[in-house]
């Protein structure tokens, strides 16, 4: 389980060897038991200024850090780790701008506490890149002009990526349903639909 840390005793700069080992163990255990069990595994009520050590597996790399229990995954990604591709739009689970993949499924990072996400595989829009090369879904959004201002786009791309990982050949209606949790105020929906269709083709190796 995650380790509670009293910030008065352990400064939040750097990670102690003890904390490091503890959080690695926690990650491995949570991976085996899943997110829901992971949340139950914190028995005590923590104080607001108590920091908890977590290990987050983001885009194939493990980040170990101290978090407040109330910090969302979105907050940690953007404000603590500087992974700012994931956007904040409403921070209350309504717009989808912060959509990331958690164990391959699209999830709102603003509705996921950082401590909940320990032990899962988190993928952000940066994680779809291969070096500087765009992933298929990202390429499809470029080709089909599946955005305007681009602010909701990382969330749209991740929702599309998650949809296609679950359903590699979605129908028109399945795309509409699958993408309906992501708002686009510029209204690029027609092109987003085309982009998802195109991404499905690219993923199958059609060029």
């Amino acid at each position: 389980m995650a380790k509670k840390v009293d910030p008065r005793k352990e400064p939040d700069k750097g990670v102690t060897r003890r904390g490091f080992l503890g959080s690695v163990g926690a990650g491995a255990m949570a991976a085996a038991t899943g997110v829901a069990r992971r949340a139950e595994a914190i028995p005590e009520i923590t104080e607001p200024d108590e920091m908890i050590q977590v290990a987050l597996a983001i885009n194939g790399r493990t980040h170990r850090l101290l978090v407040e229990p109330r910090w969302t995954l979105l907050f940690v990604l953007r404000e603590r780790l500087g992974i700012s591709g994931t956007k904040a739009g409403c921070e209350r689970g309504e717009c989808g701008s912060c959509t990331v993949l958690i164990d391959g499924r699209p999830r709102y990072a603003c509705m996921t506490l950082a401590i909940e996400a320990e032990g899962t595989e988190i993928t952000t829009v940066e994680g779809l890149l291969d070096g500087e090369e765009l992933g298929e879904t990202q390429r499809a959004f470029v080709e089909e002009d599946g955005f305007q201002c681009g602010y909701c786009t990382p969330g749209q791309v991740m929702a599309a990526e998650g949809l296609l990982r679950i359903n590699p050949s979605p129908s028109f209606d399945e795309i509409r349903h699958g993408m309906s949790g992501n708002l686009c105020r510029c209204g690029a929906y027609a092109n987003i639909t085309n982009a998802v269709t195109r991404a499905a083709e690219l993923k199958k190796g059609d060029s």
Partner: protein
């Protein structure tokens, strides 16, 4: 109307210098008019684009704002003692803080409030700002601030605001100036000539812009120099506002807005939060970031005023209009703006006798801001439904009725000519590609699913012009740096600019670097609003590329020893028209090699004198109405717009369809709800305030662009699209619903709740 200062400009606009020679209109194009993917697409889909909300500076503090929870109140006492001692809190800013006592909400030289106004005129007015080490600490601190208010009676209803005993939002009553009246001809005589008269009242509730990136800024000082990263539609506008507010020279204020997550007019105005960030950054010596929570964006960052519009129109049996009496009432919220709507009614259709009256009132609600075609979608909702009703009454095709009544000139100015008006082409081409005649003639469907088709038309009353200055630098290897001040608010500005340079010089867009929207490094451009970035700035881009080309041809003429007039530039090679042996790649030009770079400066040419330029458009849609549930499915939408020349067909399609989507929201799903008991906004979030999702929009979108260059207007032949794209949408839907089930829906949102009620009433009457 061209003499009026455009609504979005409160700033000093510099004149553009002029040159002797401007490029002639393009005869043929190879890049312009094609589909080119965005030059910044990689950044936007990979997550590498840094939006203002993503800016994170070393040692940066995070700000939060405490807002008045009442619709109308006076601040009596503020106790920040507890908050100041809280962990991480570095500064607490109130109206008593150094430099914070200033006027705010300036309109044409007059202030209507203060930066921190103890008189809070609507829910969400700013009371205290805090900056702390982390955002949660900043929010913890504002929750610990104790404020004593004297709660005042409020008014949030437009009509109630005009009652003599209504609570006064400002001293002197709630009327914002005198109602504006435009009159032409003789209304009484006009109605006497009419064979019949139609009179109807329409209502459109207040709409919120709700761009996906919240409003906010990051401010950093270096001595007495301020740098601001702002989610704005106009960096130069913010620069001017900040220089004024802080008493700084313009050169000491740098505003950067490379990426921004949507605005739709809400980000044309400088926010108080930007000043708060700058003041708190100066007090702490550390950068400060303030981004507003979504709920605050709903309450305080602008809206499209709700309107009540009554149209009384006199018509002859041949379909000509004899008189129109137009009355509009709307609220600009608690601070001075404008809620008028009548312009489209005054200009779109020929009518010799018109009286149009616009009344704007103050209410205890968030201040309005320009929103995508300010006033026009509201007017279209009313006017285009009335036109539909006239066609029904005369049993003629609504397309034909419109064709018969198009005003070719600016009729209010007694016939000032337009550089182009292709509304007839919009209606004809749109109808043809939509299959209008066939769809209208279809046999009546039975059962509870009824199909209908609708059309609506529009114009937009602005098309831009000077000033705009652009610089193009061509390096000796044939790559280009393009420097322009305009913001790219999602409209593809950078991409069409690159396409224009590619068209003129033959440089591939991949070999260009574009610098834009930075007051320190780029040239002045007006804010991106008013559907005028393309028609204002694209000629300047072209002129800059043209200036580069001219220098290259001069160099080649010298080196090839031929007349400059005999030379042409294609694919980075300059060749003689008369002697195909004489040619040189520009990278081989000795002078260019020595210089390393050719710099061309382009200025926007003046608009033609004595003429107006407006974009036009028509939209068609087919709906399926479920008479049991009141649900309306949008089966298909088609837009046929006259926006002059189409620069990039890919982004043109996208902008058209996006405008239609926003029109669907305006017409069918969106409505700000102010609680009558408290005056507070009851749906300040995306769950309760419904902007369209992918499930709400039409199943198919089609574009039938007119694409006729307006070469008299500017050197690229362009007019705007962004705003016209959303103006007729809602009215087209209402007309289609009426075609399907015979019910005229006069109030937005046209949603199932309203429609089942109207269907039940219809059954009762039958």
């Amino acid at each position: 109307m061209s003499e009026e200062t455009p609504y979005w400009l409160d700033d000093t606009v510099p004149e553009t210098p002029q040159t002797d020679e401007y490029p002639a209109p393009w005869k043929t194009t190879t890049v312009i008019g094609t589909r080119v993917t965005r030059v910044d697409a990689y950044e936007r889909v990979s997550g590498t684009a840094v939006y203002p909300h993503d800016v994170s500076l070393p040692d940066m503090l995070h700000g939060a704002i405490l807002r008045c929870p009442h619709a109308h109140a006076k601040v009596l006492k503020i106790d920040t003692g507890k908050a100041e001692k809280m962990p991480g809190v570095r500064v607490v800013l109130t109206g008593d803080s150094p430099g914070a006592d200033m006027g705010w909400y300036e309109r044409r030289g007059t202030f209507y409030g203060r930066l921190f106004d103890p008189h809070c005129r609507h829910e969400g007015e700013e009371v205290v700002a805090v900056a702390a080490e982390t955002l949660p600490q900043a929010f913890d601190a504002i929750r610990a601030i104790e404020v004593e208010y004297e709660v005042l009676p409020f008014v949030v209803d437009d009509e109630a605001a005009l009652a003599p005993d209504a609570p006064a939002v400002h001293e002197g009553g709630n009327l914002v100036g005198e109602p504006s009246v435009r009159e032409r001809g003789d209304l009484t005589a006009g109605f006497e000539q009419a064979d019949f008269v139609i009179e109807r009242t329409f209502r459109t509730p207040c709409e919120i812009h709700a761009p996906m990136e919240p409003h906010g800024s990051v401010a950093r000082w270096d001595g007495n120099r301020l740098t601001v990263w702002d989610s704005t539609q106009g960096v130069f506008s913010v620069q001017q506002a900040m220089a004024r507010a802080l008493g700084l020279p313009l050169a000491n204020v740098r505003v950067i807005g490379h990426y921004m997550g949507g605005g739709f007019g809400a980000k044309l105005e400088t926010g108080k939060y930007t000043v708060f960030a700058a003041l708190m950054a100066r007090m702490t010596g550390r950068p400060v970031k303030i981004f507003l929570p979504r709920e605050d964006c709903f309450r305080v960052t602008g809206n499209r005023p709700g309107n009540t519009i009554t149209i009384k129109i006199g018509v002859k049996n041949d379909g000509s209009l004899t008189a129109m009496d137009y009355k509009s009432l709307g609220s600009n919220g608690a601070y001075r703006y404008n809620a008028s709507t009548s312009t489209m009614a005054v200009y779109l259709y020929t009518c010799p006798n018109i009286r149009a009256e616009d009344t704007t009132v103050y209410t205890n609600a968030g201040k309005a801001r320009p929103m995508r075609g300010p006033g026009f979608p509201q007017c279209a909702w009313a006017l285009e439904q009335v036109m539909d009703e006239i066609a029904q009454k005369l049993k003629i095709d609504p397309v034909d009725l419109r064709l018969k009544n198009i005003a070719e000139m600016a009729q209010y100015e007694d016939g000032v000519p337009l550089t182009s008006n292709h509304l007839a082409a919009c209606l004809r081409k749109g109808a043809k590609e939509f299959g209008w005649a066939k769809a209208r003639a279809r046999t009546e469907s039975d059962g509870h699913l009824r199909r209908g088709v609708g059309v609506a038309a529009c114009f937009w009353g602005y098309a831009g012009g000077p000033p705009s200055t652009v610089i193009v630098k061509l390096f000796s290897d044939g790559s280009v740096n393009l420097n322009m001040g305009a913001s790219d608010i999602g409209t593809g500005t950078k991409t069409w600019a690159a396409m224009i340079v590619a068209e003129e010089l033959g440089v591939a867009v991949e070999r260009m670097q574009i610098e834009h929207a930075d007051t320190a490094t780029t040239q002045y451009a007006t804010s991106s609003g008013g559907s005028k970035t393309v028609p204002s700035d694209s000629p300047a881009v072209r002129a800059a590329a043209f200036a580069v080309k001219k220098q290259l041809l001069e160099m080649a003429a010298e080196e090839l020893e031929v007349e400059e007039s005999d030379l042409e530039l294609h694919d980075l090679t300059i060749s003689s028209r008369s002697n195909s042996e004489k040619k040189i790649e520009i990278s081989k030009l000795a002078k260019l090699d020595r210089q390393g770079v050719v710099i061309g400066t382009g200025y926007r040419e003046p608009n033609p004198e004595g003429k107006f330029t407006w974009p036009y458009g028509a939209q068609f849609c087919e709906v399926e109405v479920n008479t049991r549930t009141g649900e309306v499915r949008l089966l298909r939408f088609l837009g046929a717009h006259d926006s002059g020349r189409v620069l990039n067909r890919l982004t043109y399609d996208n902008q058209l369809f996006g405008g239609i989507v926003m029109g669907v929201g305006f017409g069918m799903t969106e409505e700000r709800v102010l609680d009558r008991q408290t005056g507070k906004m009851a749906n300040a979030n995306f769950h309760d305030y419904k902007i369209p999702t992918m499930m709400d929009v039409a199943l198919s979108h089609q574009n039938a662009p007119i694409d006729r260059p307006d070469t008299e207007f500017n050197t690229t032949g362009t007019k705007g699209l962004g705003e016209p794209a959303t103006i007729p949408t809602a009215a087209a839907i209402a007309n289609a619903v009426c075609d399907a089930i015979g019910i005229r829906v006069t109030d937005t949102p046209l949603n199932p709740t309203q429609l089942v009620r109207l269907i039940a009433e219809q059954r009762k009457e039958a």
